[in-house]
Amino acid sequence: MNISRRLPRPPRQLLIGHMQWLALLLLAISIHVLEASMPSLGPWFKAGLANLITLIALLWMGPRAALLIAIWRIVLGSLLIGALFTPTFIMSMAGGISAAVLMIAAFRLLPCLSVVGISLLGAVAHMLAQFVTVEALFIQQPHIYFMLPPLLLLSAVTGWINGALAGYIAARIRHDP
């Protein structure tokens, strides 16, 4: 008897869902690697384009898929750029998980906010979490927070723009199959 005939075939919809999640994850990893190679406007600041994919996953697939994309994107992206388990990885992980958790909470609990507001909260949480991590683990100096306001301002601007882009892309793809 053919072995493959014994194995139950997964439902088509389930397979499509997994493929969509995987496609978003690969896209997020690509953007993560690209952002790491680009010049930065300030210490620990990135435009947060990879977070845009987390937002789209949150809109399309829900909180669990978004959180998993955020975590796997940072693990595999850091592995590819040779930064796994370095301080940069720990800061990225703290920022990424904080942003994802706050965006999920806002998505569920604050229906008055659109994807732009959710992205704004995520960007600010990401930057704050990075500073708290640096102060707790690497440089135990509260003076480090003196650098925070200008970087938070940049995060707020990019968070707003990324949220608008995520909403636009999500609606566009839904309307243009």
Partner: protein, 139 residues
């Protein structure tokens, strides 16, 4: 959350909802307030460079007025960070970290500027304002 039947123009999304704009305003006010408070804190006193390793203050130097630069070798988590302090500002000349972001960040002179080398656990902070020092001398 609206995900269905949304308009397709990007500018619609860029304008956000009223709740989004209130949230942005609140965040901007908090940033502006904390920024003003920090500027006030770091501008007090003569311009001084503080060098830290983790929680420990390794050295503090006033920004020199002459052309004689000061070299300081800070022992960090990975090795020695070479810091140069001159009348033009502070810069990291060498760092044992792999990213070299602290070295590439260049020269810093304004009150509140910092060079942070996270892998080597070194922080260089400038506090104090040269203009305030001159005002104090004039008084």
């Amino acid at each position: 959350m609206q995900t269905d039947h949304q308009p397709r123009q990007l500018r619609h999304y860029l304008s956000g909802t009223a709740a989004d704009r209130w949230l942005l305003l609140l965040i901007l006010l908090l940033i502006a307030g904390s920024w003003a408070w920090i500027r006030h804190q770091v501008s007090a006193g003569p311009p001084t460079v503080y060098i830290y390793h983790e929680h420990q203050l390794l050295a503090m130097y006033p920004l020199p007025d002459n052309d004689q630069p000061i070299h300081y070798r800070a022992h960090g988590h990975l090795g020695i960070s070479d810091i140069m302090i001159s009348r033009h500002g502070v810069r990291m000349l060498h760092s044992p970290c792999s990213s070299q972001r602290c070295v590439l960040s260049g020269e810093h002179i304004r009150a509140g500027d910092m060079i942070a080398c996270v892998p080597n656990h070194i922080l260089v902070s400038i506090r104090g304002n040269r203009r305030q020092q001159l005002d104090a001398i004039a008084e």
